[in-house]
């Protein structure tokens, strides 16, 4: 039933105007505000933004991984290959996770169970979703480990996680994520905890396999340089809102939003040698009492009165939008609004 839906639609994931808050004793934290993210089939999409901007919350909400009862969806919808995940119960979500969508988290050191052999952890997942005997499952596991450039898959399957290096563990986790051929892989900072030398290898492994199998991928990262080489399109998030999105090259070569521009000016790769790196002054807003208007406005050098009173909506051409009063469509609206 799933394949039919996938074939009939071009979308792997369609998040529409998702708003979400975490209720606390001192008030609700508005973690996501009107977030819309679309991932086409076989497309590789990046979400960038600094820690706490809602990147992981977005995908975890979409896959039902946030702790039950600790959050509240206040609006919007999520469609994963046509199925609404927000309305699924836990049992339905268990069928979806691992089969339609898999997530690779950061920190591979703790992401594998320390007391269970690698082989069993892989076959448990495979046998959960596929009609496979144990020997079938072991064969699938072995093949996919080999595909992750693991030299002796048979030996690794007999080992425990503590016997493997961080890079090897992350390969195992990627193998696990791909093991049931999900249509979408969410790679949540997959290389943040790894040595720089293995980072590129790991990212290529994910990219290559995804391209070969037509799997969609969402790369979540605070590192623009990492995602820029892998992704077709980029979403830039700030304080629970999407502030800009577009094709990777366009966003990086001609960033529109002041936040994106500032973010890119912080990258050593993009600054001439010996020139000082910039830092974005100020701090991310407190989402329990967010600032009025645009959330970036308190740190923005270009802010005008309108920025402080009304929040800008994403506007622009199809596939290239910016949420800023000082840019593109926003500018026109701003000017119309300021006319007497």
């Amino acid at each position: 039933m799933m394949t039919a839906t996938v074939q009939s639609r071009g979308q792997a994931l369609a998040i529409q105007n998702l708003s979400l808050e975490f209720p606390t004793f001192s008030g609700a934290i508005k973690a996501l505000d009107n977030v819309s993210i679309n991932v086409a089939k076989a497309e590789i999409v990046g979400i960038v933004g600094e820690s706490g901007c809602g990147k992981s919350v977005t995908t975890m909400a979409a896959t039902g991984l946030l702790p039950k009862g600790r959050y509240r969806i206040t609006g919007g919808s999520v469609r994963l290959f046509g199925h609404s995940t927000l309305t699924m119960d836990e049992s339905q979500l268990q069928d979806v996770r691992g089969k339609m969508v898999s997530t690779i988290f950061q920190e591979p050191m703790n992401a594998l169970n320390p007391t269970i052999r690698i082989g069993k952890q892989l076959t448990d997942v495979i046998m959960r979703h596929e009609e496979a005997s144990l020997s079938d499952a072991r064969r699938i596991a072995r093949d996919i480990l080999a595909d992750m450039l693991i030299g002796e898959p048979e030996r690794v399957m007999k080992q425990y996680p503590f016997e493997l290096s961080g890079g090897m563990r992350q390969r195992v986790l990627i193998a696990m994520a791909f093991s049931c051929n999900p249509g979408l892989i969410i790679a949540d900072e997959p290389t943040t905890a790894l040595d720089v030398t293995v980072q590129a290898v790991i990212l290529r492994l994910i990219q290559n396999r995804a391209r070969r199998t037509g799997t969609s991928v969402i790369f979540i990262s605070h590192n623009v340089a990492v995602v820029s080489q892998l992704c077709d399109r980029l979403y830039v998030m700030y304080a629970g809102r999407i502030v800009e999105h577009g094709a990777t090259r366009t966003v990086l070569d001609a960033p529109q939003h002041p936040y994106t521009q500032a973010l890119l000016r912080c990258l050593p790769e993009r600054v001439a040698p010996k020139q000082e790196l910039e830092a974005i002054t100020g701090a991310v807003p407190n989402l329990m009492q967010p600032p009025a208007g645009c959330y970036f406005q308190p740190r923005c050098k270009e802010a005008i009165d309108l920025c402080r009173s009304r929040s800008p909506q994403l506007a622009g051409a199809e596939g290239r939008e910016v949420a800023c009063w000082r840019r593109g469509v926003g500018l026109e609206i701003a000017e119309q609004g300021s006319r007497p």
Partner: protein, 337 residues
């Protein structure tokens, strides 16, 4: 290979522990005021009689000589002769120890069978009604004195409803099965004596449950705490993200890791059972080591007290060895390094 590396040093250590305990108990027994000869001969015995008793017991010899004799006998498995029963202490212990071990094993079994699932449920449904009940029950278990709880149960089930016996190991009129292991439950089954088995089961329910209850509380709390820790771990999130079923995640992926910190506790619980048994046995007139030791202490029966202390310390060392072996079983990181 790794197993022998753990076991052999422990067995060597055991010798030193026994020697150390022997020195300590021997010293204490000679420092404590109270004259065993006087206890035996009675208050009104003449000085001559007293002297005779002393000579018979070897108490007139120099302390160092007494000690070497004691150690020499100890190495041959001779724990001396009880001043009270006039029988070899080793024989007395062989008679009474199985009853205590049987009671302790049943209690530990009940404590684990109730405590572990209760702790798991409590952690999985944290702050829910099940958790509240489990926490109340475990606090009751930990804080209720064994003698009080035991008496309440005897009053309810023996005196009032008359559905369970309140004392002894077997009903009157039932001949005990021939001794093989000393465990009535096992011996009666081995000999096909189902009447004795039934009676033994009925008799062990109340004392077993009383003894189990306190340890169950400790186990529940420990399992709850370590389950809560483990459920926060990244690998549980990985398992959830792979779509594994909740039951599988809880029992195959979480509990196994949560048990590791609980193993030490189970070892301690086993030790606790020994001392809890003293009170429980007294209340339920259970003919085990507890009753034997209490009477020995009351009559200043030093050989018996020392014998029990040595056996108990050997027991502790063996329990610790079991704990280490259990660690190896549960944690591959210890096993394979």
């Amino acid at each position: 290979m790794a197993i022998t590396r753990i076991i052999i040093p422990r067995l060597v250590l055991l010798l030193f522990v026994v020697l150390g305990v022997a020195i300590i108990t021997f010293t204490i027994s000679h420092l404590i005021p109270g004259d065993p000869a006087r206890m035996i001969a009675g208050d009104r015995a003449s000085a001559e009689t007293l002297e005779n008793v002393r000579r018979n017991l070897g108490l007139d010899r120099p302390v160092v000589e007494q000690f070497t004799i004691y150690i020499g006998n100890l190495l041959q498995g001779d724990l001396g002769t009880s001043l009270r029963t006039n029988r070899p202490v080793a024989g007395d212990i062989r008679t009474f120890l199985p009853a205590t071990l049987e009671l302790g094993s049943v209690a530990l079994f009940i404590a684990i069978c109730l405590g572990v699932p209760l702790g798991v449920l409590s952690a999985v449904y944290k702050d829910g009604p099940i958790d509240q009940i489990a926490r109340t029950v475990s606090v009751c278990g930990i804080s209720m004195p064994v003698f009080w709880f035991g008496l309440i149960l005897i009053y309810l089930f023996y005196a009032k409803f008359q559905i369970l016996p309140g004392s002894g190991r077997l009903a009157m009129g039932i001949v005990a099965p021939e001794r093989i292991t000393g465990f009535l439950l096992i011996d009666s089954l081995l000999q096909g004596r189902f009447d004795a088995f039934r009676s033994a089961v009925y008799h062990i329910i109340l004392p077993g449950f009383v003894l189990a209850f306190a340890n169950m509380g400790v186990i529940t709390r420990q399992i709850r705490a370590s389950m809560l820790d483990v459920l926060q771990e990244d690998y549980i999130r990985t398992a959830r993200a792979s779509g594994l079923r909740k039951r599988m995640i809880i029992f195959n992926y979480a509990l196994r890791n949560a048990l590791i910190p609980s193993i030490t506790l189970l070892g301690l619980a086993l030790g606790d059972l020994l001392y809890g048994a003293v009170l429980t046995e007294t209340i339920f007139a259970w003919p085990g080591m507890g009753t034997y030791v209490v009477t020995s202490i009351q009559t200043l029966d030093f050989p018996a007290i020392m014998g029990f202390t040595i056996v108990a310390s050997i027991g502790y060392v063996l329990i610790n060895l079991l704990v280490d072996l259990a660690y190896m079983l549960a944690d591959p990181q210890i096993r394979e390094v």
